[in-house]
Amino acid sequence: MSRAKDVRHPGLRLGEGHPDVAADAEEMNFGFWVFLMSDAIVFALLFATYARMVSSVAGGLGPEALFDLKSITIETAALLASSFTFGMASLALKYARSPRPLVKWLCVTLLLAAVFLGFELHDFAHMIAMGAGPSRSGFASAFFALVPLHGLHVLAGCVWAIALMAQIAIHGIDKEVKLGVQRLGLFWHFLDIVWVVIFTVVYLGGLA
C-alpha cells in the first residue's frame, strides 16, 4: 500500500530499494508502540500488586533474606549491554551493505540475553531452595508473577530474534525483516526499561 508521502516514520531511514518501507513503518511501528503501552499497563499493575504484597510474607522469608545482589548486578549489566548491542544491530541494519554485521550483533545480543536468563533462573532456583517458592506467601506470589514475566518477555524476544535471523537466511534483508528488526528493537529497549524499574523497586527497594 503506497500511501501519501508526507506520512513518514521519523525513525531510522531504511535506505533505497524499498521506498514503501517508510510508509509501512509508520503504521507498523506506531501499532507496536501502542501494544507496548498496553504491555506497560500489565507491568504497572504487577508492580502495584508487588508493592501491595511485599510485606505479606506470611511468616516466611522476605526480600532482604532472599536476594543476592551480586547475581542481580551481573544480570543487570548483561541486559543493559544487550540493549547497547541491539543498538549496534540497528545501526548495522541502516548502514551495512551485507547482512553479516546485523546477524553478528543479533547473536551477541542473544548471548547476553542468555547470560541474563541463566543468572535469573539461578536466582529463582535459589529462592525456591530457600523455601520461598511462589506458593509460600503473597509476597512470593507477587514476586514470581512480576520478575519471571519479564524473563518470559526476554525469552520471547530471543525467539523473535532467532526467527528474524532465519528469515534473513531465507529472504535476505527485505522489507519485512527491516520492520521486524525495528519492532524487536522497540521491544528490547522497552524490556530494558522495565528491568531498570524491577531492579530499583524490587531488588534495591527490597535490600534497602
Binding site: T49, M53, P134, A140
Partner: protein, 701 residues
C-alpha cells in the same frame, strides 16, 4: 497417574449433563439434569444441522475462502455480529429460565441453587463478553473504515486473529453446557469463592479461559482500531471532520487498550492461584481478594463505557440522518465522549463501596461517579436538539433511539442514586442494582447495536431489512424490557438480594410474575429479529438498494455501492469538510467517474486467525480439563503459527485498474437507472438507494 488421566485428564463420564441424575436420581437432579441435557442436546443438534446443511449445499470451500480466512474488515465485522446473535439467543433463553424460576421460586422453585448459579454466570459472561463485545466490535469493524475512507484496517490479519480468539472463548462457554459445569461465581468471578479451595471443579476454569481469550482478542481489536483511525483517514479528514461514530470508536479503542490489561492480569492471577498454588487472592498465606476487586473493576468500569460509547456514536448518526438535520453540537459531543472516556478510569471503586474503605474514599469516588452524568446529559440534550424542528422519520432505528433516550435517562437516574455511598449501602447486591445495570445496558448498548444493525445492514448486503418485523421487534424489546426490569427496582428496594434462587416472602411474587411476562415479550422480540432476517432475505429483490444510499446519509460510507465493494472506494476520496457525502450531493458532485483509476492492492486471505482460534481453543480446553498433552501440543501450535506468520511473504493481491473501472461504471449505470426517492417513500420498494434532493433534505450548512 492412570492412562485415563494421561489421555483425558479429569474428563470422564461425570462431565455429561445427565450423569448425576442417572447415578443419584432424586427429584432435584432429574429436573435440573433434564433441563441441562435438553439444552445441551439442542446445542449439539444445532451444530449437526448446520454442518449437514453446509455439506449438502457444498459450501465448505466457499465458507473457508470467502469468510473464515477472509481478512476483509466488512466480512470480519459481519462474522462478529453473527457470533453475537448466536450467543445472545442462548443468553436470553437462560434469562427467561431464570425469570421462570424466580416467578415460581416462592419456597423453592424447580432449579437447584447450583444450576441457578451457572445460569446467571453464563448469562452475564455471555452477554458482556460474547454478545455485547462482539456486536460492537463487529459494528466498528464494518462501519469505521468506511466512514474514514480507507480500504481496510491497519492490521487485517490481526483483525481475523481477534475474531478467532473471541470465537474460541465463546466456544468454551458453548462446550461447558455439554461437558462439565460452568462457574457459579457470576460474571465477575470473585475469589476466594472461585479459588480452588472452594471450587475445585472445572467451572471457574471455563470462565477464566473464556474471558482471557476474549480479552486478548479485544485488546488487539483496540490497537487495530486506534491505529487505523490515527493513520488511515482519507486525505483531508482531520479529527474534527470525523463522523461522530468514528469518534466514539476511537475512544472505545483507547479504552480497550488500557482497560483490557487489568482483566487479563486479574484472570491470569486467579489462574496462577488455581493451577500453581499461588496466593494472590486466597484467604490465607498473605493473599488478599481486595486486589482482585480492584483489578477487576479497573477493567470493569471502563468496560461499561466500551459498551456504551459505540452505541452513543450510532445514536448520533441515526438522530441526525432520520431527522434530516445535521448533528447538533458536534464539538460538544466529541468533548463529552472524551470526557466520559477519561472519567471512566476514575470511578471503579463505586463497585465496592461496601467493602471496607473509609468514608472519605467512598465520598471521593461517589462524587467522581456523579460527574459522569454531566457529559452524558450534554449528549442527551444534543440529540434532542438534533431532532428539534427536524422532520423525524419513524423508522426502526429511530424507534430504538427514542426508546433509548427515555429509558436510558431513567437508568442514569438510578445510577446517580447508587453513586451515593450511603444509599448504595441499602441497595447494593439487590435486584435494584440488577435493574439499574440492565436499564443501562439494554437501552444503551443493545438498542444502539440493533439500530446499527438496521442502519448499516443495506450497506453490507445490498438490501434493507423488513420494516414491519423490525418495528414489531423494536416495540417488543422496549415493552419487554420495561416489564422485565421495572418490577426489579421495586423488589430490589424491598431488599431482594441478587443471584438468589428462591424466597419465602410472598410479597415478591406478583412483581416476579410481571417480570416473567416481560421476559416472554423479550423472547418475542428476539424471535421477531430472526423472522425479520428471514423475511428480508426472501424479499431481497424488493428491498434492494444497489445505488447505495437508502437513508439519505451524509458520510462516506453512503457514497459507494451497496453491498460495498471489497476495496470499499474505487479511489480514495478527498475530504474537505464534515458530512462530505451530503455536501457532494448538494453540490451535485456525487456519483462521479474519477479521472483516473489505479490498481488497488489488498491483503490476501490468511488462515492465521483460524489456526489460532483452533489452537487457542484447544489450549483452553486442555487447561480446563487438565489434559496436559493437549496443552503442550496447542502451545506448540500457537508458537508455530505465530513464528510461521513472520515468514509469510507476498501477502497482497492486486485488483487491476480496469476491473475497478468496470465495477465503478456498472454501479454508476445502476445509479443512473434508479429513481431518486423522496423520504416519504424511504420504506417502500421504490427506494433503491438514490435519495431525492428536496426541501426536506439535510442542509449541510
Amino acid at each position: 497417574m492412570t492412562l485415563h488421566h494421561l489421555l483425558l485428564g479429569r474428563l470422564d463420564l461425570h462431565a455429561l449433563p445427565f450423569w448425576t441424575m442417572i447415578e443419584h436420581p432424586t427429584h432435584e437432579t432429574i429436573v435440573n439434569g433434564t433441563i441441562t441435557t435438553a439444552a445441551a442436546g439442542l446445542e449439539v443438534l444445532a451444530a449437526i444441522v448446520v454442518i449437514a446443511l453446509v455439506t449438502r449445499a457444498g459450501k465448505w470451500r466457499y465458507l473457508w475462502s470467502e469468510w473464515l480466512t477472509s481478512v476483509d474488515h466488512k466480512r470480519i465485522g459481519i462474522m462478529y455480529i453473527a457470533l453475537s446473535f448466536v450467543m445472545m439467543s442462548r443468553a436470553l433463553i437462560e434469562a427467561a429460565l431464570m425469570r421462570t424460576q424466580q416467578a415460581f421460586g416462592l419456597g423453592g422453585g424447580f432449579l437447584s441453587p447450583e444450576h441457578f448459579g451457572e445460569l446467571f454466570s453464563t448469562h452475564g459472561t455471555i452477554m458482556i463478553f460474547f454478545m455485547a463485545m462482539p456486536f460492537l466490535t463487529g459494528v466498528i469493524n464494518f462501519a469505521m473504515p468506511l466512514q474514514i475512507g480507507t480500504r481496510d484496517v491497519s492490521f487485517p490479519v490481526m483483525n481475523s486473529v481477534s475474531l478467532g480468539l473471541t470465537t474460541a472463548g465463546a466456544m468454551m462457554i458453548v462446550i461447558s453446557l455439554a461437558l462439565g459445569k460452568f462457574s457459579t461465581g457470576g460474571w465477575s468471578g470473585y475469589p476466594p469463592f472461585t479459588e480452588a479451595a472452594f471450587n475445585a471443579g472445572v467451572g471457574p476454569d471455563y470462565w477464566i479461559w473464556a474471558v482471557t481469550l476474549s480479552s486478548l482478542g479485544t485488546m488487539m481489536s483496540g490497537i487495530n482500531f486506534a491505529v487505523t483511525i490515527y493513520k488511515r483517514r482519507a486525505p483531508g479528514m482531520t479529527f474534527m471532520r470525523m463522523p461522530l461514530f468514528t469518534w466514539t470508536a476511537l475512544c472505545t479503542a483507547i479504552l480497550m487498550i488500557f482497560a483490557m490489561p487489568p482483566l487479563t492480569v486479574a484472570t491470569a492471577m486467579l489462574a496462577l492461584d488455581r493451577y500453581l498454588d499461588f496466593h494472590f487472592f486466597t484467604n490465607g498465606s498473605g493473599g488478599n481478594m481486595m486486589n482482585y476487586a480492584n483489578l477487576f473493576w479497573l477493567f470493569g468500569h471502563p468496560e461499561v463505557y466500551i459498551l456504551i460509547l459505540p452505541a452513543f456514536g450510532v445514536y448520533s448518526e441515526i438522530f441526525s440522518t432520520f431527522s434530516g438535520k445535521l448533528l447538533y453540537g458536534y464539538t460538544s459531543l466529541v468533548l463529552a465522549t472524551m470526557a466520559i472516556a477519561v472519567i471512566s478510569f476514575a470511578v471503579w471503586l463505586h463497585h465496592f463501596f461496601t467493602m471496607g474503605q473509609n468514608a472519605s474514599v467512598n465520598a471521593a469516588f461517589g462524587i467522581a461517579t456523579m460527574l459522569v452524568g454531566i457529559p452524558t446529559g450534554v449528549k442527551i440534550y444534543d440529540w434532542i436538539l438534533t431532532m428539534f424542528r427536524g422532520r423525524v422519520r419513524f423508522t426502526v432505528p429511530i424507534v430504538y433511539g427514542l426508546g433509548f433516550m427515555m429509558l436510558f435517562v431513567l437508568g442514569g437516574l438510578s445510577g446517580i442514586l447508587l453513586a451515593n455511598p450511603t444509599l448504595d449501602y441499602q441497595v447494593h447486591n439487590t435486584l435494584f442494582l440488577v435493574a439499574h445495570f440492565h436499564n443501562m445496558l439494554i437501552p444503551g448498548l443493545l438498542f444502539g447495536m440493533l439500530a446499527a444493525y438496521h442502519y448499516w445492514f443495506p450497506k453490507a448486503f445490498g438490501f434493507r431489512l423488513d420494516e414491519r418485523w423490525g418495528m414489531i421487534s423494536a416495540v417488543s424489546w422496549i415493552v419487554g424490557f420495561m416489564l422485565a426490569f421495572f418490577p426489579l427496582y421495586v423488589i430490589g428496594a424491598m431488599g431482594f438480594p441478587r443471584r438468589t434462587v428462591a424466597y419465602f416472602d410472598p410479597v415478591y411474587r406478583p412483581w416476579m410474575l410481571i417480570a416473567l411476562a416481560g421476559a416472554a415479550v423479550v423472547l418475542v422480540a428476539l424471535a421477531s429479529l430472526f423472522v425479520q432476517l428471514f423475511v428480508s432475505i426472501r424479499r431481497r429483490e424488493a428491498l434492494a438498494v444497489p445505488a447505495g444510499d437508502p437513508w439519505d446519509g451524509s458520510n462516506l460510507e453512503w457514497a459507494i455501492a451497496a453491498p460495498a465493494p471489497e476495496y470499499n472506494f474505487s479511489v480514495i476520496p478527498d475530504v474537505s469538510d464534515r458530512n462530505p457525502f451530503m455536501i457532494a450531493k448538494q453540490k451535485g458532485d456525487a456519483y462521479q467517474t474519477p479521472a483516473e483509476f489505479q490498481d488497488i492492492t489488498m491483503p490476501k486471505n490468511s488462515p492465521l486467525g483460524m489456526a489460532l482460534a483452533v489452537a487457542g481453543g484447544a489450549l483452553a480446553f486442555g487447561l480446563v480439563w487438565h489434559i496436559w498433552w493437549l496443552v503442550a501440543l496447542s502451545c506448540l501450535g500457537v508458537l508455530v503459527a505465530i513464528v510461521g506468520q513472520g515468514f509469510a511473504r507476498d501477502c497482497e493481491k492486486v485488483i487491476p485498474a480496469a476491473e475497478v473501472r468496470r465495477q465503478h461504471e456498472a454501479w454508476l449505470r445502476t445509479v443512473a437507472a434508479s429513481r431518486a426517492v423522496p423520504r416519504d417513500l424511504e420504506g417502500e420498494p421504490a427506494n433503491t438507494g438514490l435519495a431525492a434532493r428536496d426541501r426536506f433534505s439535510q442542509a449541510a450548512e
